[in-house]
């Protein structure tokens, strides 16, 4: 498990859940900016240095709309573009 923590992770937003409260930006300005409408703009991957703060941001989201996803990014299949 300790080896896993060395791997950078990505912050992913569950967009339909996110209401743009902005708490994540307050807690993690190093990796989360806000767009003109107040929604999070992920600006950097989460390295070891930012892990703890990132976990805090994920935990603190009032709508549970933020997740920390370990790399290597999961699927080769994206279900997003199928139609």
């Amino acid at each position: 498990v300790s080896g896993r923590r060395e791997v950078p992770a990505d912050l992913r937003v569950d967009w339909p859940r996110c209401a743009g409260r902005g708490l994540c930006h307050e807690l993690l300005p190093e990796a989360i900016d806000l767009d003109p409408w107040g929604y999070p703009l992920v600006t950097a991957p989460v390295d070891r240095r930012l892990r703890r703060a990132a976990r805090e941001a994920v935990r603190s989201c009032p709508l549970q709309a933020l997740r920390l996803v370990d790399r290597p990014a999961p699927p080769e299949i994206s279900r997003r573009t199928l139609r």
């Binding site: 937003v13 339909p16 703009l41 299949i77 997003r80 573009t81 199928l82």
Partner: protein, 408 residues
């Protein structure tokens, strides 16, 4: 904004004369029992890619579904959320049994007895054709223990997105949601699901039933295209891979830019397609994509920027409105693009592109960003001209004032 539909006979999928089961069986025979390995071999040998737009290798998807768990599902997407796409409608009307044979073979191989068929609400003739076909094969399907479930997708651009389709099948709202795993791993009921476009299943069935596959050895098979004609009619054609675009499109259709891959697609500037063929690899190498096979020739003397502005405005209105960046960003992008057509700054468009791209539960904002970015790439001279307050597109090279109402 749909006119008529004209389906031309094709070399393979659209080769049959009549859609009924008897003539289908007479022409192509009956598929034998196939295992997942058989299907993997067939799909792998022919490098079959999904025909819903993403072009993902079908064999990989099938293998993932087979390996991800024992309770599995098959979903056939006939919904064609893209209003300019008619190829799956054409298949349902002309060759429904080919689609059903492919889906049935996949379901039998995956040992799932229930197949979900997702139909378009705004094209009732598709549902009628499918119901008629299912009725014809009732006895065969009972023997094969296949059961079909029909679902109706809402008439909205994003209703056909994979996650929206899974939501519909699961009995929830037919809207995209965030997914953390691919459909092949966690789809219907959170279980492994083979969700593919109707044409993909028809291609699979044709590979199982027909020995002679058209197209070149390195890219066998055909592709269905929905070509929007100037009259508003859509013609659906089936062309073998490797066919020159000069054979596919009329000279008048090649005389101007062509929007490839539909409203989420990319522009091929005038003169680009003449040198290319209908080939996934070739088009991708040229920075283009065929998507779900929608082809919209603009024709000569029409402003591609004005056309794009109208499409982007339409797409912004098709957002489900559940993801903030899409809800706010896509109308803002549409407004910025309309301003660009009227001489506004390209920088505003570029800034909004970055705020829309990749920020949503589904591919809708990505698709809009792709179209807009491709427009800026493909038409630098037009963008510059509009920036100077003029439209550079005119018959015979004349410069005429930007006139949004007058363009196509």
């Amino acid at each position: 904004v749909t006119g008529g539909l004209r389906v031309l006979p094709g070399p393979w999928l659209l080769r049959a004369e009549s859609p009924d089961l008897a003539s289908h069986r007479r022409l192509r025979g009956t598929p034998g029992r196939t295992s997942v390995d058989d299907l993997l071999a067939v799909a792998g040998r022919s490098a079959l890619r999904g025909r819903g737009g993403a072009g993902f290798p079908f064999a990989t998807k099938l293998r993932t579904t087979a390996e991800a768990g024992r309770r599995r599902h098959v979903v056939v997407n006939l919904s064609e959320g893209e209003p300019a796409s008619f190829k799956d409608t054409a298949l349902a009307l002309r060759q429904p049994h080919l689609v059903l044979d492919g889906a049935g073979a996949a379901a039998t191989a995956l040992e799932c007895r229930r197949v979900h068929l997702v139909l378009p609400a705004d094209r009732p003739e598709v549902g009628r054709a499918v119901v008629r076909a299912l009725d014809e094969r009732r006895h065969d399907d009972r023997r094969a223990r296949l059961r079909w479930r029909l679902h109706t997708a809402a008439p909205r651009f994003v209703s056909g997105e994979a996650s929206a389709v899974v939501e519909l099948v699961d009995g929830r709202h037919n809207l995209p949601v965030t997914t953390w795993e691919p459909t092949a791993v966690a789809g219907v009921r959170g279980e492994p699901t083979l969700l593919s476009n109707a044409e993909t299943f028809a291609q699979l069935a044709a590979l199982l039933l027909d020995q002679q596959v058209p197209g070149p050895p390195h890219e066998p098979g055909t592709r269905l295209l929905s070509i929007r004609e100037r009259t508003g009619t859509t013609r659906v054609v089936e062309v073998p891979h490797g066919t020159s675009w000069q054979e596919v499109l009329a000279p008048a259709e090649l005389a101007g830019p062509v929007l490839l891959g539909g409203y989420h697609g990319t522009w091929a500037p005038t003169g680009t397609l003449e040198r290319l063929t209908v080939s996934h690899a070739e088009l991708v190498a040229a920075g283009l994509g065929i998507g779900a096979g929608v082809v919209i020739p603009l024709g000569e003397g029409h402003c591609p920027l004005a056309t794009t502005a109208r499409i982007v405005r339409y797409l912004a209105g098709q957002s489900a409105g559940r993801c903030g960046p899409c809800l706010h960003g896509t109308p803002a992008l549409a407004t910025a693009f309309e301003a660009l057509v009227d001489g506004g700054p390209v920088q505003t468009v570029e800034r909004l592109l970055a705020l829309v791209r990749g920020r949503g539960a589904c591919a809708h904002p990505d698709g809009i960003a792709r179209l807009v970015a491709s427009t800026l790439d493909a038409f630098p001279a037009e963008v510059a001209a509009h920036g100077g307050g003029r439209c550079a597109v005119g018959v015979g090279g004349r410069v005429r004032p930007a006139d949004r109402a007058g363009a196509r």
